[in-house]
Every structure is written in structure tokens, then in C-alpha cells.
Symmetry: C2
Subunit: 365 residues, 2 copies
């Protein structure tokens, strides 16, 4: 088992990484204050892992809450089912929520924990690669609004993150690729050596090589923890974690939540950020192609939906949370391994980026 720490004063917490941690009670019990626990999961994950976690939690009064699966359900109506379950079973403010599932379950359970009786404890148990390397760490929680993704939420840190990498064995290949988009992101924004490591191990990762997976998860979580330590509430450097996300959110919103996986949209958005950085002259074409090639080898779609032109992108990007006083800030690359957040770019470069031929870029890369 590998252990990392997110250092946030009294809100600090450990990240445990390893195969089979679902069965290890010592990863959970030190982080459960009372006798009541609610395990929040979804219809896909429950048949696979819920009973094992319940066995590990023997001795607690556990309420399982099983939600429908998918980004389309990351909304108030589904969140309400968590509150209903907690209130019907009379959970008090000493209860602990456990999120067993992917990013949607983690974001919703964390937000429910932030709001239930004005705040109760929660533990993240991410079961998808994307949630293991990104969304389970850092305390961003929330739900979608029909006018924008993650528009309603809270910064609220878990008491612990328990990453059982063995759960990836049941993850569909498409979701594994989606998770790799966020792994590659860390290399691009802040860790060029990790980018080089990924180029050597991308096939091993897609083949679920246990050692490679543990290494990639640990290096990703370590990068995330460093950034969150420096900027918990995203007043500065934390925004670089959103490389590819502003373009990607526009795709997700236009297509309807769930049509593209979040990681897929981020992958295509990252290709756009690489292209725009090259058009600004910040990185050269070989560097851009190196990034695009790695995204393609991860199995990610790199071509935005045919129905989306500049107008569609700009309409959705205008409500991005990184807009400040009407200025759209974008995460771009100064070089491979260094990202910046900036509103200082010519508008015509953005327009050209939105019109570029990504099918051709992917072919030549």
C-alpha cells in the first residue's frame, strides 16, 4: 500500500493506494467518528463492490444508498435521494458518508456531506481511473445545472481517500481511456518527466499492468496534492488543473451530459489547448504533436463533434467558472510541463483554434 498526504491544516487527510484496499478495515475505521455510516454508490458499482465494503464495515449501522449511474444524474433530483435516505434512516451530524464509485458519485456524495445538517464527514472510495487520479482528491464537490457543469457545489475535503486499484479490472476500456486523459494532463501541466514515463508505459496502463497503474495513480495524486496544497480554493495555480476542461465542458454541455464521457471531452479539449498554445507560438508543432499522439495512443477521441463550430463553443464557454468580469481565461501551455491561466490572447487565435482540423492533426501526429 502506498500512502500520500494532502496537507491542509486541520483539513489534512491521507490517500491510500493499493490492490484490495476495499477489504482493509484499517483504511476506514480511523476516519469514522460515530456509529452511523451511509455508503452511496450506483447501480453499476453496487453489484460489484458494495457487499465487500459492507463486510469490511461490520459493526457499524450502515445505510446503503444506490443511485442511477451516469453524469446525466448528477443533479439535484438525485442528490435529494441521498438526503432522503439519510433522513429516513435518521442519520445525525456525527454520521459518515462513503462515496463508492466514480467521479459522479464522489462529487455528489461530497456535496451531500457538505450540506447535510451543514456538514458531516465523508470518505472517498473511487472505483474509476478518472476519479482515482483526479476528482476524489482536492475537495471539489458539486452537481450540474442545466445551464452549466458543476455550477452548484462546495469546496469540502474528505477525511480519507481509499483507492483500491483492483477495482479497475471491471472498468470498461472506454472509461479507462477517459481516465488516462487526466493522467496525461498532469504530465502536460507540471511534470515533463512523468509525460516521458507515460509515453513508455501507455500500453502497459491500457493493459492494466498492476505496477504501472499504481505508479501512475500515485504520481497523479501526488501532482494533484501539490497543487491543492498550494491553492485549495483555486485563486491561482489550481486553475491549471483545468487544462482542456473549458473546451471539454462546452462539448459536454452541447452534447448533453453523458453522451461524451468527461475524460473524453477533456481529451479533445486538451488537443485544442495544445493547438492553441502552438498557434500562439508558445510550443512548437513537434511538441503539440507529441501531446496529441499520446492522447491518441490512450484511446481518446480527439475530434470535436461535427455540429460544434466556434459559435457553439463560445456560447458555452461564456458561463465557465473561470470567467471573471466578462474575461474568459484559458489554461494553455508555455511548454510541455508548464501551464498558465491567461486571458491574454488574441481573439482571432481562439477562433482559429475552434475551427482547426483536428482529424488531420490526429492523423499526422
Amino acid at each position: 500500500m502506498r500512502t500520500l498526504h494532502v496537507d491542509l491544516g486541520e483539513r489534512s487527510y491521507p490517500i491510500f493506494i493499493g490492490g484490495g484496499l476495499l477489504d482493509r478495515a484499517e483504511c476506514f475505521t480511523p476516519y469514522i467518528a460515530g456509529r452511523q455510516v451511509a455508503v452511496v454508490t450506483n447501480e453499476t458499482v453496487a453489484p460489484l463492490y458494495l457487499q465487500r465494503l459492507l463486510d469490511t464495515l461490520a459493526g457499524y449501522r450502515v445505510t446503503p444508498i444506490v443511485l442511477p449511474d451516469g453524469e446525466a444524474f448528477k443533479n439535484w433530483e438525485t442528490l435529494q435521494r441521498i438526503f432522503d435516505g439519510l433522513l429516513e434512516a435518521r442519520h445525525d451530524r456525527r454520521t459518515t458518508l462513503i462515496a463508492l464509485g466514480g467521479g459522479v458519485i464522489g462529487d455528489m456524495t461530497g456535496f451531500a456531506a457538505a450540506c447535510y445538517q451543514r456538514g458531516v464527514d465523508f470518505i472517498q472510495v473511487p472505483t474509476t481511473l478518472l476519479s482515482q487520479v483526479d476528482s476524489s482528491v482536492g475537495g471539489k464537490t458539486g452537481i450540474n445545472h442545466s445551464l452549466g457543469k458543476n455550477m452548484i457545489g462546495a469546496f469540502y475535503q474528505p477525511k480519507a481517500v481509499v483507492i483500491d486499484t483492483a477495482t479497475l479490472a471491471t472498468l470498461p476500456a472506454r472509461e479507462l481511456s477517459a481516465g488516462l486523459a487526466e493522467v496525461i494532463k498532469y504530465g502536460l501541466i507540471c511534470d515533463e518527466p512523468f509525460l516521458a514515463w507515460l509515453e513508455q508505459h501507455i500500453d502497459a496502463l491500457r493493459g492494466l499492468d498492476a505496477e504501472a497503474i499504481s505508479e501512475a495513480v500515485e504520481r497523479s495524486c501526488a501532482a494533484k496534492a501539490r497543487v491543492v496544497n498550494a491553492d485549495e480554493r483555486e485563486s491561482g495555480v489550481r486553475a491549471t488543473l483545468n487544462l482542456g476542461h473549458t473546451f471539454g465542458h462546452a462539448i459536454e454541455t452541447e452534447m448533453g451530459y453523458g453522451a461524451w464521457l468527461h475524460g473524453e471531452a477533456v481529451g479533445a479539449g486538451t488537443a485544442m489547448a495544445l493547438e492553441m498554445s502552438q498557434r500562439l507560438g508558445w510550443i512548437d508543432a513537434p511538441a503539440r504533436d507529441r501531446g496529441i499522439r499520446l492522447l491518441a495512443r490512450a484511446g481518446l477521441p480527439l475530434v470535436p463533434p461535427a455540429q460544434m463550430g466556434p459559435e457553439e463553443f463560445l456560447r458555452h464557454m461564456a458561463v465557465d467558472k473561470k470567467v471573471l468580469d466578462g474575461q474568459l481565461r484559458l489554461v494553455l501551455l508555455r511548454r510541455l510541463g508548464e501551464a498558465v491561466v491567461t486571458a491574454e490572447y488574441p481573439r482571432e487565435v481562439l477562433d482559429a483554434t475552434l475551427r482547426a482540423d483536428y482529424a488531420a492533426l490526429a492523423r499526422q501526429a
Copy 2:
């Protein structure tokens, strides 16, 4: 203008108290970071005070959001209208929300500010006595759930509280009395000299004597600020602010939100807390009657609904936020001016309290 300060480190803020502050831009502009402002109010308050506040905010891009009036609307559906208004007008995370209204508007606007884009600034402008002396100070925000009052919410502090006492001129007498229940509470739980002052000035307060009102609001806010300074997240002494609230919430839930005003239910609940404290031998009958007499002189109803026996009370009280590991903690009085939170009481004393004849107690007091 009187000024108080709530000291919570980087979350500290001022409370301004005085007649006509709605027109004083210097109470607002230092606490507005960007150019966007949303004023959230309701259909009752808007015709009275919205335009005046908009005039004071000239120069900002202001979105007014007018909600229906009443505790029955303190729910997710109404909260959603705030989010809709913010997103449709493209408010970014540098926006400031201003709550113009009573406790319902303040609680909902504060919770919306806590959740919108994971947290934006807000200012409380309370226009009822109850919100001026209690709910606008301290950072408790939230909405009701059909299974319990204020079950969904956040601790989230405003940037400033601007109390224009002249707004009480348009407050219905019933709501003024409801606010006095919370004023009397401060005397009972932590300030016996204030209790004696209230006995001398209760008629002046009901007659809206400007000097008496300012004094009562300031002393109430000062008491609240002291308690919140000591215990922001209610791990200890802050719970004493809930004197009468556990019984009162049961009345509100049983009768449906809005049938009894919150302050009215707190008044009746406070009479029950006085009675239980006397039955435990902690205060004597003259002290109990002194409290009950002041509540009656404030114009408050002191007899619980005829349809509510011990069973109805206990069912609702079991989901109170002060329940910990199945134990119902109550706020009771050790003496007039000193409250304690305790689960150490014989069950039969609670039962007798729930069955007592409050009509007779009010007559004899």
C-alpha cells in the same frame, strides 16, 4: 450608526445598525469585490425597499431576483430560481449576492452564495426583527427538507450585515412579536441584565420606539456575535442559541412550514424549556413565570397546537440536528441568564413537560 464586529479571522465582518442605512452606499461598496451584484428579495419586500437599494447600488450591474414570500418556499425549488437568475445573467464567481428580506431570504441567499460556483460573496440586509437580531448574524444558511427544518445547508459567513432598523416600520405586529422571541432568548440564555432591561422596555419595543429598538438589536447582535466568536460551527456553546428551538421546530414541522411563524414556535418552545427547567428543579416557579410573563407581554402564543401530544413532539424531535448517536440533547436553563445543552434528564420529565397545561401557566404568570 452603531457598528459591531464578528471576529472569525479571515472570515470576520462588520454589523452596521441604524435607521436609513439602505440609502448609505458606504455600508455596501467596500464589501462588493466585482461589478456584478444580485439582490435577492421577495414579493412583499420588493415593492417597499428594492428600488431604494438599487438606487444606492447605482454603477453596478445589478440583477434583482424576486422570490415568493414565506417559510413554505424555503426549499430547493425556490433556491433553484436564484441559481437560474445568476446563470441567465452570467454572474461569475466574483459576483456578490445581497439578501434583502427576512430570515427565509437570508438563509436561502446565504446558501445560494455558499454553493454558486462553489462559493461567492454575500451581504445580509435583514428587514424583519427576527432576522436582524438572529438569523443574519453567524453564518448559518440553508433550506428545509420535507422531513426536517434547515436540514440542508452550510456554515457560510457574509461579508457584512447592514441592519436598517427603519424597515421595521412596515413589519406586521405579529412578525414583530415573533422577533421579540429571539430577543428574549438572549436574556434568558446569557444576559440576565438584558432580561431586566427587556421587562422595562417591552412596550416601547412593541411601539417601535427607535432608541429602544436600536438598543435591543445591538445587544442581541452583540450576544450572538460573542457566542459565534466562541464556537462558529456549533460544537459547543453555540447550541444554547437554540433555546426553545427543538420544541419549536417540532411545532413548525407538524403544522407545516408557515402556519406558525418561526419566532412564534420558538416562543411556545421557550415556554416549554422554562417549564422543563422548573420541573428538573433548576429554576424555581417564580423564575419560570417571569420568563413566561415576558413572552406573553411580547404578544407571543404560548400554547402548543391542540393536536400535538408527546408522540407528535417526540417523532419530530428525533430528527433534530442536536441528536447525537440517538441521544436527544435539549437546551435548558440552569438559571435565568445561563443555558446548558444536555441529554441528562429523566425521560418522564420530558414527557410531563410535553403534557403540561400551558394555557394555565400563561394565565397564572
